[in-house]
Symmetry: C2
Subunit: 410 residues, 2 copies
Amino acid sequence: MAKNAIVGQSGGPTSVINASLAGVFESAKRRGAGKVYGMMHGVAGLLERRWTVLDDDLKTAMDIELLKRTPSSYLGSCRYKLPDWHTPEGEAVYVKLFEILKELDIGYFFYIGGNDSMDTIGKLADYGQHVGSDIRFMGVPKTIDNDLMVTDHTPGYGSAAKYIGVVMKEIIRDATVYGTKYVTIVEIMGRNAGWLTAAAALAKAEDCEGVDMICLPEIPFNVDHFVEKVERMQAKKPSIVIAVSEGVKLEDGRYVCELADDVHAVDAFGHKALTGTARFLANTVARRLDTKTRCIELSTLQRCAGHLTSRTDITEAYQVGGAAVKAAFEGHTGEMVALKRISNAPYQCTTELHPISEVANLEKKVPLEWINADHTGMTPEFLSYALPLIQAELTPIYVEGLPHHIYLPE
Amino acid sequence: MAKNAIVGQSGGPTSVINASLAGVFESAKRRGAGKVYGMMHGVAGLLERRWTVLDDDLKTAMDIELLKRTPSSYLGSCRYKLPDWHTPEGEAVYVKLFEILKELDIGYFFYIGGNDSMDTIGKLADYGQHVGSDIRFMGVPKTIDNDLMVTDHTPGYGSAAKYIGVVMKEIIRDATVYGTKYVTIVEIMGRNAGWLTAAAALAKAEDCEGVDMICLPEIPFNVDHFVEKVERMQAKKPSIVIAVSEGVKLEDGRYVCELADDVHAVDAFGHKALTGTARFLANTVARRLDTKTRCIELSTLQRCAGHLTSRTDITEAYQVGGAAVKAAFEGHTGEMVALKRISNAPYQCTTELHPISEVANLEKKVPLEWINADHTGMTPEFLSYALPLIQAELTPIYVEGLPHHIYLPE
C-alpha cells in the first residue's frame, strides 16, 4: 500500500504559492502517493490536528487551474518556529508531530516557504534521521522577497516584480498629468534585501521614462543627500517618482521610518510596524522644498495580486513543487529544490537540489555591483537578471467581472 | 473647407479617459472634421498656446488600440477654473481663448472631464453665444468618482469599481491566511460621495465572503460605534476587512482624518491633504482592542490601473466621445453627453444630451436607501446597479512583460 503525502504552506503569502501546491499535489498523485493531505496553517495547525484531504478538494482539472490563479495560501499559513529537539520540552513537540504523521501514514512531507520554513524542514529531517524515520522531508522555495540562498531566484518574486513594474509605470503616467511640480514616493516591501524595490527599474521602456530614483536597504540612507538629489532632479523636470524600500536604514543602523515622530501602527504587544518610510520622506521633502508630494505604500497588494502574475513565475512555482516530489520519491530528504539559470537569452532555467543547511535562516541581498554608481538606480546586469522573470501572463478566469478563486472556508 | 476640432482633458485622470479621446478623434475624422487638435493640459495649456495635432500622433489602428489601453490623460490635464466673463479682467481671458480658436479655425470644441470641467464648457458656450461665435462646445463626462448629475454613471467609474472589487477580494484572501486576529482597513477615494468605497461590496461572491464593513461619507461617522462594531464582528471571526472612504466625517462635520495628531502630507502652501483616515482608525482599533491592524491606502492606484479595466467602461467611454461629436456636428452646444440606462438584465445603455447647467458644479451622492440598515454595507439595489459596469476586460498589449502605452513626451 502506497504511503500518503502531506504538504503545508508557511510564511508570507505570494500570488503563486498555490501553483507550487498544485505542482506537489499533481506530481504526488502521478507518482502513486496514496492520499495527499494539506496541513491547515502549516506545522502549527498540524500540531492542532488541522488538515484537509486535497484529493477531496481538488477533483477536476478546473480546480487545478483555479488553484494556480488563486493568490495567498490556499491552506492558510503560520509563522511558527520549531523548538530545538535536543531539550525535553522541545522533543515533546517532535514526538507529537511524528505521532500524527504516523497516524496519517505519511511517507512524504513537503513544506512550501522561505528561509524560516526551510529551518522547519531541516529540523524535521534531522529529528527523523535521529529516530530512524523513513519519512522524506523536502523544502519548496517561495517568497516575494527573493532573499533565499542557492536558488537563482524564488518563485513569487517574478510576479511581485511584474506587479511593481506595471504599477510604477501607471503611477508615472498619473504623476505627470498636470505638468506641475510633484514628488511621488512609493514604498515597497523588503526589510533587509532590496530585490522588490529594485524591480521598480523594470518600468523604464520606450514608452516610459522610468522612475527617477531607487533606494535599497543595501545602501546606507542619508536624508539630507536624498533631499538634495530630489532638488537637483526637479530642476530638470517637474514630476519625480521615487521607489524606496520600507527597510532603508541610516548609517547608524536606525530605520528611516523610526525618524517619524508620528504614531505608528502598533500590534497588540506594542511592537512598532516597519511602515511609514515613504510618508516620512514625503513630509520631509514637502517641508524643505517648494513642491507637492505624495506617498504611496504598495502594502500587501504587491504580494497578493493574483490578477497580474508572471506566467514564467507560475510555471516555475509549479515545477519546483514537482521537483520536490520527484526528489522525495527518489529518497532525498532534508533538501530544498533550487532554480538554476542556464541562460538569459533565450531564458532557460532548471531545478537542482541543495542541503537545507545552505538555505535555512540565511538571506541573499542585492549584489552591490548591480546598483549604479550614484545609488539612484540599477545596472543593466540587474535588468538582464530580472526581465526574463516577468515575461508572459496567466489570464485570470473572470466570473461576473472578477477573477475567480478556489477557496477553503475554515 | 471643413472646420477643425479641438479636444482637451481636465481634472483627475482615469484609466479610460483616453478611450473617450479616441472616440472624439475617430468620430470627428469620420464626420469630416479638418484637423483634430489636442490641448496640452486642458484650457490652461491652450491659453499658453500649447497643443498637439492628433492627426500626426494617431496614425495607425494600433495607436488607437494603445490609446484605449493607456491610463491617465494622454494630453495632460489641469485644474483651472475659467473666470467670470462679465468682468473686464475675466473677459480678457475669453478674448484670448477665442482668438486662438479662430487662429486654429476651430468649429468644434470638446472637453472631457468632471463637474468642474463642465463649468468650463458652460462658460465657453455662454460666451460664444454672447459674441455670436458658431463654435460648438460639448462636454464629455469622465470621473472615477461617479458623482456627476443626470448621467446614470460616469465613464471611469466602472474600471475603478472593478479594480476595487478585485483588490478587495485579493486583500481578503491575504488577510485570512494566518487565521489570527487582524483588522485590515482599506482607504478608498471619494471626498463627499461614496460610490468608489461602495464598490468594495462587489468583492462578495460564492468564492469570497466579502468585506465586513463599508463606511461611506454619506453617513455621519462615530469612532466609538465603529470600534464597538469591529469588536462585535471579531468575536465571530478573526480577520475583519473594512472599506472606508477617505471622506468620512463626524456628526460635527470634521473629517475623521483630522482627528489624527500626526503630521499630514502638506503641499507647498501648507494645505493639509485629505489622507490618513484608515491609518487613524487602524491605530485607534489597535489601541482599544486586542488585535493586530493594518491600513492600506489604494491611493492613485485606483484611478490609473490601466492593466485592469472594465471593457464595458472602455466601450462606453469611447461612445460618449463619439456622441459628443455627433451632437456638435448636428449643431448642439453647451451640452453634456449622459449615459441613460435602459435595463439591468440584460444590461443596456444609451446616450442622451443634457444642458450643462444641470451638471456643472453639482454632485451626485449614493442614495441613502442603497446603504443597509446598520450602515455596514450596500443593498442588492446597489449591486444590480454596479455589477453590469465592471463586466468584461480589455486585455493589455504586453511588450517585454509590461502593458504597452502610447505616450506624448513633453
